[in-house]
Chain length 351, copies 2
């Protein structure tokens, strides 16, 4: 007998590359190309470092209040965590305790099956249609919960709000998680539905539209009862997950609506321009509503394009998985970065 | 049927009070009375805030390297997490998957049974002896793992290293966790044993001796195989748990050995002086080796003393639990804070 027999063995998630090379154009992890809000810089300067000797506020009130205020909900409707991964992982642990399978698409955020494996939650992956859209009817059957990313990752394709509501209303006896990591770039949020459906959890992140991936802040909305349950589980896991810089700087970022709207609009404008250029180069892709474009070229192997870009100091993301292995997920960078991308792709394609 | 039937229901841990009142003397959560190292201030100023738009390094190399260097171990022997609570919780999830009960004392860190409940891990609490010491022989029987805090919390009593080794060597077929949150204030670490016992995990924190509770940094040492398993679980839970401020400032704090030794020595000196004063006032307590004293007064009710102190703007910690409900856990503050404590206690006792 060895202690190794009792180890929970898992196949870990592989995060996107974080290269330490300078001057590389990093279009592989969907970060925001713009820096955090000026209010974040101001709050950083005003922070009293000697306070760091003390524990942070476990209720995270400064952060929770700023989020509740921005979205015009009660603070009892808000949960915060160490990135949306922490929020989602806690939600899986809290809400998915049935023997029936949790349902999510076959092509979606690659952490869902990892969490299900970690917590021994049964699950079933429902194939997307050929155009990468979701058929709501696939989620009508008996199940232990539903998770939908909207817009979906890594496809960028959105589901209209009435289809989302259709899925929620067909699943009133389980929790439905709508993962809206990318919603600020052009999809409709399910947030207004939390008053109508007590089984709905809407999950968000600071890592994309708030330019603060480095702070690790995620949040979620739900009815008071739902939020209370996930808070109880979170307090059983770790009372103090959000450190002081996250609380202080996260609140400051949320308070700057103007900067948020300005920078997300810039990312969207760049994306739409790049779509036109990629189309001209023969690339094929769905109508991305996220801060990335998920594209393939009918005449070129995905791995070839990836390698060529990498050799020219541009990193994009590729998934070695069925149905999507010819695709590249290209994050939207600054206009200059995207110009360079198009230039290198033109070279590659001999155009 | 309702989604509530599938909710993982738990009794959450109640963290110590974090009052927002100014000028209160806060001796209730074992924080360090001294601010972080000057190197932390320097690193804070030099931090490039625009980098926060990017994800942090998931391997946490700057932090892991500084810890490995300080303790003269390989980086493959080091695991880091969001406070030692995150490290311990991940260790419970990773290593305690047996049907046999995990063993820990009846009086110890109150999160152990909370994690066991959260993850549905069977456990058995072994009573401390009347003098609050641990009998190693209690941990010889068949079990699914062992967790010992050394020095123990909230008693402050330490177990000698040979007794710790005795427990580890009697449990080679399960993982033994030694939680050394308070070890820097006067107990002997089990760290040198990680090369000899592949079933040993030694857990530490930045929240006490490193004056950085507000950043949430914990770490652990073990053989390479053990660390690999917990890393796999952690990467399945959340790839990016440590945010940029934690990585940068945590590394800076670890690099300042002199400040660390100086401030821990100051806390220890204050504790020893306060022990003498408390004894003169009739208090009874074990030989605390932590940054707190766990004491009772034979003639006064714990709750009475607690309330009197609270009314005089001094907060200590009290646990409403069997065997220890007459005790107060008094964190070691600055000399001035402890002078005020003694003054108020003298008033209370009419001395």
């Amino acid at each position: 007998m060895s202690w190794e027999e009792y180890v929970r063995k898992v196949v870990p998630y592989t995060p996107g590359e974080q290269p330490k090379i300078k001057n590389i154009i990093k279009l592989n992890t969907n970060e925001n190309p713009y820096p955090p809000s000026p209010l974040v810089y101001k709050a950083y300067e005003e922070t009293e470092l000697s306070d760091f000797r003390k524990y942070p506020d476990p209720t995270c009130s400064v952060l929770v209040d700023s989020i509740a205020s921005f979205y015009d909900v009660k603070k009892e409707n808000v949960f915060v965590g160490v990135g949306s991964d922490d929020v989602l992982s806690m939600a899986f642990l809290t809400f998915f305790n049935s023997d029936k399978p949790v349902l999510f698409p076959d092509i979606t955020y690659s952490f869902y099956d990892v969490w299900a494996d970690l917590y021994r939650i049964p699950y079933k992956q429902m194939p997307l249609k050929d155009d990468f859209t979701i058929d709501p009817a696939d989620y009508y059957g008996e199940n232990g919960g539903v998770v939908i990313a909207n817009p979906n990752a890594p496809t960028g394709v959105k589901l209209p709000l009435d289809a989302i509501e259709d899925i929620i209303s067909h699943n009133r006896d389980v929790v439905v998680i709508i993962d809206e990591a990318y919603v600020d770039f052009g999809a409709e949020s399910a947030l207004p539905l939390i008053d109508k459906y007590d089984n709905l959890l809407v999950v968000r992140t600071y890592s994309k539209s708030r330019s603060l991936a480095g702070l690790r802040i995620g949040y979620a909305f739900g009815c008071e009862k739902l939020i209370k349950y996930i808070l109880d589980a979170k307090f059983s896991f770790n009372s103090y997950t959000m450190n002081m810089p996250s609380l202080i700087l996260g609140a400051a970022a949320m308070n700057d609506r103007e900067y948020f709207e300005e920078t997300t609009a810039k990312v969207v404008a760049t994306r739409e321009r790049v779509k036109v250029q990629l189309k001209e180069l023969g690339f094929e892709f769905g109508d991305s509503r996220a801060n990335f474009i998920f594209a393939r070229h009918p005449e070129k192997a995905g791995k070839d394009i990836f390698d060529y870009l990498r050799a020219h100091d541009i990193i994009v993301r590729r998934f070695d998985k069925p149905r999507i292995n010819e695709y590249l997920r290209i994050s939207i960078g600054t206009d200059e970065e995207m110009d360079r991308l198009i230039e290198v792709l033109k070279e590659y394609l001999g155009k």
